[in-house]
Every structure is written in C-alpha cells, then in structure tokens.
Subunit: 752 residues, 2 copies
C-alpha cells in the first residue's frame, strides 16, 4: 500500500477545543433581535381525524404573534423528495410537519404558536382547541398487514399487491422482491435447512441534541434557516417544496450537530419555524424537548422477519429465502428495501428469494438510522447462520469464510461485487487473540458465559460533494466544504487535502459552509463524507497544484511544462535551484497574484461497500436475565483509515448502539398507541458503565474508486451486534432468542 | 462600445430590502451567550506622559471581568502595515489602539474594561486612575513645523531633512519631493504667474455607523472577530501583528457596514476587544459613541498648501510649484503623498516642483478619506487656475481643455498616462445645458450669485480580489466575494458575473465571505472593487464556462473542442440540436456531476485613473455669509457605468461630502487641544435640506485593462467641490477664499 505522511496519523481534531470548552455554536445558541419562540401542539391520540382546529383563544393570549397549521405549508402531492438516504413522498413530509386532516401517531404535530417567550408559547399551545374523531389504532406490523386491520391511509393501494387482485386499501405501502436462481429446488439439495421468525422493536437513534430550527423570513421573500441537520442542502430542498419557493431564495446555515445517525435528514421544525416567521414577520426559534424527539421524530422500524437458509454437508450455502415486514410508521418509507438488499449480502448464495413489505402503523414515521434496515435483517439471517453452523458443527467464522461474498459475487438484488474485503475481515477476526482465548470462568458460579460472532454488510454511497480551498500567505489552507460534520469528517477531509498538497493536518483549517457559500453537497449519511467529499478535497488539491504551477511559471519566467509539483513542493524540472515548498510559495502570493483559490465538485461512483465481523463474550445472570458484556472485538474493512482514532471511535459508537438495540432499547406502547417511555430514564440506552472497552481491528482493503482507498466506515458497525449477542446468549444459555431487545425479562422468559 | 444585456441597466439592489426593513445585520447586532461589554477609557488631555495607570479599584468593581492596557498588545516596532490605501508603522497602530507611555490627542485610548453590562463597564472605566504629566500641545501644522515647537515623538528624525543638517527631533515625519523640468526657468517665460497660500481644516468622514468590534478568543488560541470594516483581510492582518498570532488563526467576519469612506480600514476597537476576550475567556463587544468616533478615529488632515503656477499668453501652463504640509495627527501617515501626486495631475505641465510634508500634531491620527489628500490639493491648485483664467480672461473650461492631461502626458511623480478621459469629461461639461444657462436672478436683491468650476483627479487602484461562484440547480448563481460592500458593489459585481455568464442580475445571489470562506481580498477602497473584484467575477465566470463546456461534453458524449459557450448558452458547434441555456444546463447538474463551482483570484494592474469636472451655482447672503447651492452638475469619466444609479449615487455622495468640506465641516479645538464640537449637532454636515438635486453626467471612456472598461468611480467626485465653490464665491462676491471651510463667519470676514 502507498505510504502517506498525513493519512493514517492521529492529529488533534480541529473542532475539539471549541466543543469541550462550550464555544461551539449549536442551533439552540442562536439569538437575534426580536426573536420569537415557537412551540408545537402535538396530538395526544395515535389515530384520529381532525374535525376542526380553533386557534381563536390562543391567538388572543397576550404575547402570541402567530399560529400555523398545515394550511400554512404547501401540499406538493405525490412528488418524491430524494433525501440522500431514502426518499419520501412530499405530501407525507408536509403532513408529518403539520398534520393534514388526520393525526397518525401520538405526538404528531398539529399546530404551532410563535410568541414572545417560550413560556407564553407553551401556555398558548394549551389554548388551541382541536376536535378529534378517534379512530382504531394499529401499532404492530403483522396486525397492520392482517385482513380487517384499521386502515391509516384510505387512498393507499399498492400496485404490486393490486396485481394479485387485492385492489382495496391496505397498510402495505410497498412490496419489493428480489430473486436469484431457484431456491425451492436448491433447498431440496440442502443437508441442513433452518427456518425461523424474528421480531425487532422500534428504537431511536438517541442523539444528544434535540432538533431545533430558527427561521427568518426576509421581507423580500427570501428565507434564512439555522438548524441542526445532516444536510443543509437537503433541508434547503425540502423547504423549497414545503414553502413553495425556489431553492436559491433559501439559505440554510448548518450549526454544529449533536448527533444525527440518520435521524436529522428529513425536516420537522424547519418548515414550521419558516411558516411562523413568514406569518409574524419576525425571526422564530423552535426547539424540541426530549419527549418530542422520542415521540415525534423518526426512529428506526420495528420489524417481523422470516428467514430460511439451507447448506450442503460441506457447509456451502445453497439457498436462502426471506420475508421482511418493516414498520414504516405513519407514512410509507421504511428502509425495508436496503434491509432486503443486505440480508444475505455477506454470502455467496446461488439461489435466493426475498420479499419485503413496507407497512404503515400508528407510530412516528421512521427514518434512517445508521445502516438503515440492515441491523434488523442481520439479526435474522445471522441467527439462522449460527444455527446452521451449530447443526453442521462448523466453526462459525470458518463457515462464513467458506461462503463469503467477494469480488465477482452477485448479490440477489442485482449488483456484482467489485473488490471488497470480507475475506480479509473474517481472517483478521479468526486470527485475533480474542477468538483464540478460552472463555474465562466468572466469579459467580450461577452466571452463564458464552461467545458469539456475527457479521454485517453496508453499501456506503457516493453522491455529490463540493469543496473550495484558499491558500493563505502564511501557508495555511482554508478548506470550505458542504458536508455537515457529525463524526469528525472536518478532520478526515482536512487530512486528505493535506496529504494531496503536501501540508500537515494542522495547516488545513476546515470549515462547513452554508448553502450560499459552498456548492451543492448531499447529506452526511451513507458513510459517504470521508469517501466522496474526500475525493472532492483531493480534486480541489489538484486544482490548487495546477494553479501553483502556473503561478510558479510566472515567478520563474519559465514554461509551465518545465514545472512539476511533488512532495509538497513546486519545482523546475530542469533547474534544481528553482524550488518552493507550498509554504514558501504561499508567502509569495502576498506579492504575486493574491490567494490561490481552488475548487472541486464531484459525484463519484458508489464505493464497494463495507463488511464487519464482531466477536462478543457475555455473562448472563439466569435469575434476573441481565446480560453483561465481558469482551467485544469489532473487525472491519475500512479501505484506508484516514484518522484511525476516528475510525475506531466510529466502530465503537456503532457497536454500542447495536448493543443497546440488541439488549435494551425499545418503544413501549400501550393498546391506545400511547408511548410509555418517552424519556432517557425509561428508554434505556447503554452508558459507559454498562460496557467494556470495545476492541477494534481496522482491516485495509483499498477501494479502487478513491484516490486513497477510503471506504465508508460509520454505519456497518451497528449491523452485527444484535446477532452476535444472540449467538453468545445461545452459547451461554442454550436457548435461541428471536426477539429484540433481548431484555432481562425476555431472557428470563426464554429460560422458563 | 460593446452592447451589453445587464451592464448599464438598473436592477434592484440585492441587499436593499434587508436594509430598509432593518433585517441587515450590523456589528452592533451581535449577541452571544456570555457576552461581555467593553468600554474604553480615553485621555482628557491632548498631550501627556502616562506616569502610571492604577486599575485596582476598577477591577474590584462588581461585574468587571478584565481590564487591558497597551501592555496587552504587541509592539511590533518599526515594521509597516500596508493597509491598501496608505500604510502605517505597526508601533503607531498599536499605540493608537491603546496608548503606550504617552497620549497624543484628546480621546486617545488608554485602557479598556470588560464587564457584564455596558453600564458597569462605564462605571468601572471612571475608577481607573491615570497619573498624567501634561505636556505642551501643538495642533497646527505650521506651528508644529516651526523651530522650538513641542515635539510629539522624541525619536522622530526625518532622514531627508537630516541630510540637510537637521539631525534633531522634529514633527515632520516625512518629506516627499517630485521634480519635472525646470520650473524656475519656466516661470520667467510665463505671461501670468499666480502664487497663493491655502489652509484647510480637519474634517471627518461622518459615516453613520460608529465603529464596533466583538471578539471571541477561543481556548485553542484562535480568534473570531465580528466588526464593521472596509477590509476583513486587512483587519485580520493588523490583528495578527497586534496579537502576535498567525493570520490563519484569526477569522474576521465582516458585518454590514454603515459607511466607511476610508475611515474603517485601520483597526481601533478590534485589538482591544480581542485582548479583553483573551483576558476574560469570554466574548467581548466594544462599541464607540459618536463622540468617540469624532475624537478618536481617523479624520482627514488639516493642511497648509502653497501653490505657484504660471501660464503663457496663449493660456498654456508652463510651470507649477507647490508645497503641501499635511497634518498627520498623532502618528505619521497623512496622505500628503497622494496629495502631491494629485495636485497638478489634471494638467500637462512640463516644469513642476512639489514638496510635501507629513507633520505630526496633537490631533487624532488621520486616515484615508475618499481620494485621500486630493481634495485639499485641488482646492489650492484649482483656485490658482481659476485666478489665472480670470487674469488671462479665458473661459475656465476652455483653459482646462487646453492644458488637459491625456494619454501620453507625464505626471510630475513619474507615470505617463494611459488612455484617460479628462478631455471627454471637459467637453461634456462644456456642452452641458448648465454651463450655457445664464445665472438666473434671485428674489432677494441683496443676495449675490456666482458660478464656478473645478476639476479633479484620482488614481484608483487594483490590488487583490478573490471570488468563488456556484451554479445552483435552479439556475441561480451564489457569488461569494471578499470585498465588503459599502457602496453597492454586491450588485455591481453580480451584474458583471451575470453579463459574463449570460444570466440576469437577479439570477446572481451575491454574498460577502468571512476570511475563512473566501480568498484574500484587499480593502474596499481606492475605488477598486467594481474594477478589480469585477475582473475576478469575469474570470470566475470564464472558469464556470470552461467547466460547463467540459460537462456538456460528457452529457452529449462529444468532444469539448466541438462545444462553445456564447450568449448564455452552451452548444455543439456541429449540431444545432445540442444547445442548453445556462438555466437548462443548471437543472441537469442535479443529476450530472453536482454543482459547478468556479473561482478566480486576481491582482490586476492599476486602472488609468478617473477625472471629474464640476459646475456649481451659488447664492450668498453677504450679511450672514450663508452660502446656498442653486445648481450643481458633476461630470465624470467612469469608464463604463455598470449600474448607472449606483454610479450617480456615488457621484452625488462624493459631491455632498465635498460641499460639506468646502462650506461647513471642521474640527474646532481650543488652545489646550480639546475638541469643542464632537457631535453631529456641532460638527455640521450638509443634510438633504441644504442641497439641491445634484445633476450627474456619466462619461464613458473605457479603461482597456478591464473587460468591460470599468474605472473606479467612488472617490474623485469629492475632489472638485471646495475649489468649484471657491470659484463660484469669487464669481459672486469678487473675493478669493483661501481657507476651508468657507463658513458663514469666514465669508463675512472676507467681505469686510
């Protein structure tokens, strides 16, 4: 592999000090002369028709300056908004921001008030009178698919199902299907076939920072919005649709973001704040409470999955079949598609049949969550694989190596893999000391210990990124990019630019532009930023080098053809005395032509995809069902780790979220569709006290599409944990868990 | 001349609505969590040694968080800061921000307090005890030059004077000299020689918005400053010196600016706010009052000028001689150099001798003011020319045409003119109805009426500018530039980009970047922005066109060689069916490669210079000395007027300031050097009620160095008014005024 000077080192992050000293500016920090405060009225009911909304009393409340309802947002109908990770029908997006005719889940926004203080807005919200007609509630994906279920959207008729004669309204918003070979025939040749059903719960991304938006409607019909988002241009595009204005009339300023994980791509508050500002003529800030976030943003779907897999006596998978039903929540759009594409993506299986169903239920509309759809799917397929290994008495990593997808393997959904690194990842897991170490005995003889493995796949995406860069006279480069920085991409991008131009990471000063100052850049999601925006950084550095060569030709009065750039310096090929490092050259720009400004816009092909293999040791108290994690090792192909500490942090973060999903996290609803645990006290995420240090192993199989071989890193680590934990629990207890989370109560019940 | 679609039209200004509705954000609007408020302690004395500063009582005042003095700023010694328009010794710049050892003028900053409220800061300032040793004061340029004058800077010895044996301390900071031919000999051949002396007063730019600065010292040693400035990069550079840090550790965010006219280039509050923030660890905002602005920022110098000119009997100037003594104020750096270069710049005179003296006095350090130094000089030389015309009985415009500088004329300070437009300007003035119209009789028979003319020159400069531009999918271009917008340059730049790319002005969305988001750009001054940043816009549009052609090649799958861009569209030369307007192409970028981002950095040669000819009719009440303006016509060569309304506005604004300078404005000092009129009530600027509509005539002699022929516009209109008014007063009253302002009291005195 190439040797690098900057890439692969661990410099201090550029935004670190500001963040730990409280100087970083988040959306909630926005202050402005004449700022009004918005509050949202939310539905107490999970399913109801809105017969009327009476805002007259609320409007009379002193200090109230304006109230908006769905009438203040456009209804763009059936057109689709591509959000980078997933898409949404614009009618649904609008109706989710402010309910149009019906509320579909408890917490659904109905109206919003702008007032001189948050307290007054809160009081006024309580004075809005909504006349609801209650409707029957359905909050379970299987019940929603059943004959006679309450129908959420009367107009919803799914084409592919209608073809089967079912021309009546349904809660099944979409049916996807992938076929490869002849599974029915192949299953008959299998030495072992395992078929199981699985259920997973609704879980939330759990980002620290609640959603927020401040909008200023200017009197010339332009709009400025400050918010916490994964994609400022995505917000701009969504606002343009919902406010019916050209994108270029909107400026979105992305503030620092306290976590997103996929949940801060679609808009919630931004159109509400914009409509309130338009109505009042003043700037309006709207913040969510934690309860709002849990009840009314986009968690990831609960699901019901059936998997059937068969292998021959040599341990080669011959056929696989799956049916995945994902809860979309209130509006169509669960990640069941990616779930179907990922469920068998780690394996080279010649015969596959996959059906996916996107099903609406009376829960908040789901949105992306780190490798959307893949974790649910892997829990199911990996649990079946573990059982096959048990039956065939084959080491689970050996079995996976035997069946591993590699360059040339065709996935059931169509694509054939380019160079990918699953084999190398599995080999690294096999040879890791963790896998060789025996399970140590614990101090409590009643506790049971076990080990499990699980693997996972995520695509990673490319999409559009823009970068501009300016060389200062002191040799520091201002790097302006459009990707909001959630996981440290500011630094991983700066490092790539530094490598390409021959400077150090601290010589690059990265900043994130608003939508008026940088070119169109897609969302921070799909593990794309270090890959795609990294390519933009590389290309911008090439543009800078070309200009440095041209300028040097002028300084030295020789032809540009005789000049080269290498190893951080520009020099005359024919005259060794003519040589300037970038810093020396930069100092000359103060007198020669001014700053060098460089730019790049890219839209690269998608990378090859990322694979992970996890090993986990657990200890279970059979009496209480509590599961403790003794040791956890996550191995992953990262292509090339630009900043290994960040890569490790991404892997550790993903694992922890996967552990929470596997063991604890779930939305508890009562029969009325009321959420019973909308707080971080009752919605239990793992804390540092619950976990050991997560070991990470970075495998580097370069992606040929990126100049430095980068693959996306951030998402795939969340995929294997629930499956690995289930395998470990089986190893410890001898029972197979088929439902997430594998909470203490469920473990005890399974043991009974 | 070329025909244009956008250039020469009068679109609505992009920032107009925000400014008239109060939505534009100025420095005083900055709010921030934990913001402290700074106040500056200023010297009550015009000249004193600081024996001690005791801040102990002030520090104990509840709410006070920090106090700074000159010890908190670096003293970079003799190094020079180039400020774009003029330069300054960094020791002086630092000592002007916070007095170091001595105070040199009343209002000189001595210390500053940061406290939790402006009121507390104000109270604490009064508790700082400064022990002053009073020193003798000199506030007049001639007295300061005289033998035995109080010396401001003990170490000041001027080299060129020392060569004459005067090796002792002096108040003459600089002596400049320009010689051409042999004036002494030539004067002997003259038919008429006029020699006169003139005095002009200290006047202030009078911008509406007082200086302000908010600084945030980050804990990683970086600094962010929000301020009102003509040059964000200039502020960055000055701060880097005074705070001893690399420029790239500083981010300067230029807020909207409520006027500058040259007075918002050097820093006053920015280093003070930065030092206070560094000391307190919190953001600090410091605002000036109007009194602070008048007493302690940089007005333009009072001056004493001697002029001798001679012409032959045919009305050809044969020789000219001048001696200009300009008050620098507290520190060296008056614009006497440009004054010397401009004084005879309108004329083709073969024999010239000019001496200039930069003289320190106990007044605030002067700074640039619209065509710095030229107005004082033109008042003197144009008054002498008017007297020569009178003596030779030649029409004053005819005389000027006879002697007009043109392409090939050599200026006494060295350069030879390229294509310039003085002749065309004079011809336009001659043929203007105003010049042909007789002076109408007034209603009051005691009042006297008269007409005068005056002409003026200003260089205009080039310097460095950077621009980036992004094409949005809706066909609107985000144009990011580094030039702070004082006079509407946002729109004049957008129009040039629009012209070059084939869009309309409203399709371009201009914005001004901070120092982290745009390449190095010199100050908004020297009438350079529409010229130099305009060239950057043109070049960035070419970069955008090149990329559009490359992308089109990809879309059409043909060679880029076969593609051209013209008239706002990209098309295949060989296939008429392949044609996309920029807007059509832009829509495709959403699916083809993303945004097109373009850039340019330029450092063009200086333009040829600008000339103006003014005609004014006045009515004088001999009893009170009040001068009323009946009619005013300003003719000016603008090269090419991008937005004629703005050009007219610039001309009108310059004329009004010149009228104020000519008739009313002056700093009144008592003998102790205390300023007696530091308010807009007592410092009398012309208002709309004092003035008629100023007629403007735009002459367009294209500057060959600019793609659209632009010359700078903003400064030269301030140059002729005092001289033209003096000529008109002579025409009305028969007396020649030799001192500015020609206030009622002076008019009455002259008539006595």
């Amino acid at each position: 592999m190439a040797t690098y000077k900057v890439i692969g080192t661990r410099p201090i992050r550029h935004d670190g000090v500001d963040k730990v000293t409280g100087r970083a500016l988040y959306g909630a920090d926005i202050q402005m002369t004449g700022l009004l405060h918005g509050r949202v009225l939310r539905s107490p009911y999970a399913h109801a028709r809105i017969k009327s909304i009476d805002v007259s009393e609320a409007l009379k409340h002193p200090g109230v300056e304006g109230i908006v309802t769905s009438a203040d947002l456009a209804d763009p109908g059936d057109r689709i908004a591509e959000l980078g990770e997933g898409s949404v029908k614009l009618h649904d997006l609008s109706s989710n921001c402010l309910a149009r005719g019906k509320v579909y889940y408890q917490g659904h926004a109905v109206a919003a008030v702008a007032a001189s203080s948050p307290q007054i807005a809160e009081e006024a919200v309580r004075k809005i009178k909504v006349d609801y007609e209650l409707l029957p509630v359905v909050i379970d994906v299987r019940k929603a698919m059943a004959e006679g279920a309450p129908i959420l959207h009367e107009g919803l008729v799914t084409e592919s199902l209608a073809a089967n004669g079912a021309k009546k309204p349904t809660n099944i918003a979409k049916h996807v299907q992938f076929k490869l070979g002849d599974p029915d025939k192949a299953f008959q040749t299998a030495a072992v076939v395992v078929e199981r059903e699985f259920n997973t719960a609704t879980v939330h991304q759990g980002y620290i920072e609640p959603h927020n938006a401040t909008a200023l409607w200017h009197h010339d019909g332009t709009l400025t919005v400050w918010c916490s988002t994964q994609g400022s241009f995505s917000v701009r595009g969504q606002l343009a649709e919902l406010m019916e204005m050209p994108t270029s009339k909107i400026k979105v300023v992305p503030m620092e973001i306290g976590g997103g994980f996929g949940g801060k791509i679609r808009v919630y508050l931004e159109p509400v704040a914009a409509a309130l500002s338009k109505k009042t003529g003043k700037p309006v800030k709207v913040l969510m409470s934690r309860e709002d976030v849990i009840k009314a943003t986009g968690p990831t779907p609960a699901s019901h999955i059936k998997v059937k897999m068969g292998a021959d006596k040599n341990g080669r998978l011959v056929a696989a079949q799956a049916s995945l039903a994902y809860e979309a929540g209130a509006f169509a759009g669960s990640p069941v598609g990616p779930g179907c594409m990922c469920i068998f993506a780690c394996y080279d299986i010649p015969n596959v049949h996959i059906d996916g169903y996107d099903v609406v239920v009376n829960k908040p509309a789901t949105s992306a969550y780190r490798a959307p759809g893949a974790t649910n799917a892997a829990f199911a397929s990996e649990s079946v694989v573990d059982e096959i290994c048990e039956k065939l008495k084959i080491d689970p990593l050996e079995f996976r190596l035997k069946n591993a997808a590699k360059e040339g393997t065709r996935r059931a959904d169509g694509p054939t893999y380019p160079r990918v690194g699953l084999v190398e990842t599995l080999q690294a897991a096999q040879s890791h000391p963790h896998y060789a170490a025996p399970l140590a005995k614990g101090t409590n003889p009643h506790f049971k210990r076990g080990r499990g493995v699980g693997i996972g796949f995520w695509f990673n995406i490319g999409l559009k990124s823009a970068v501009t860069a300016t060389l200062n006279a002191d040799g520091v480069v201002n790097l302006l990019e459009g990707s909001t920085d959630i996981g440290g991409t500011r630094t991983s991008l700066a490092m790539q630019f530094a490598e390409a131009i021959g400077l150090s990471a601290s010589d690059i000063k990265p900043a994130i532009g608003d939508t008026d100052t940088i070119g169109y850049t897609d969302v921070t999601g799909g593990s794309r930023v270090t890959y795609a925006t990294g390519i933009a950084c590389y290309e911008a550095a090439q543009d800078m080098k070309r200009q440095i060569i041209e300028r040097a030709a002028g300084i030295w009065k020789i032809k540009a053809d005789d000049i080269a750039f290498d190893d951080g310096a520009v020099f005359a090929k024919s005259d060794a005395s003519k040589r300037l490092t970038v810093k020396e050259f930069a100092a000359k720009t103060a007198h020669h032509g001014g700053a060098v400004t460089a730019r790049a816009s890219v839209d690269p092909v998608f990378p090859g995809g990322a694979f992970a293999a996890h090993i986990v040791d657990v200890e279970v108290d059979p009496e209480t069902g509590k599961v403790g994690i003794l040791r956890y090792t996550a191995v992953q192909d990262c292509g090339k780790a630009i900043h290994p500490s960040y890569v490790e942090g991404q892997i550790q973060g993903g694992v922890v979220q996967g552990i929470g999903w596997g063991l604890n996290e779930e939305y508890y609803y009562n029969d009325k569709g009321e959420l019973m645990n909308a707080s971080f006290l009752d919605y239990r995420m793992p804390t540092a006290l619950d976990l050991p240090m997560i070991d990470t192993v970075i495998v580097e199989v370069a992606d040929p599409n990126h100049p430095y071989g980068v693959r996306g890193v951030g998402e795939v680590p969340i995929v294997p944990p629930p499956a690995a934990l289930a395998a470990a629990l089986h190893n410890a207890l001898g029972v197979r868990m088929s439902e997430l989370p594998m909470s203490p109560a469920r473990v005890v019940k399974a043991l009974e």
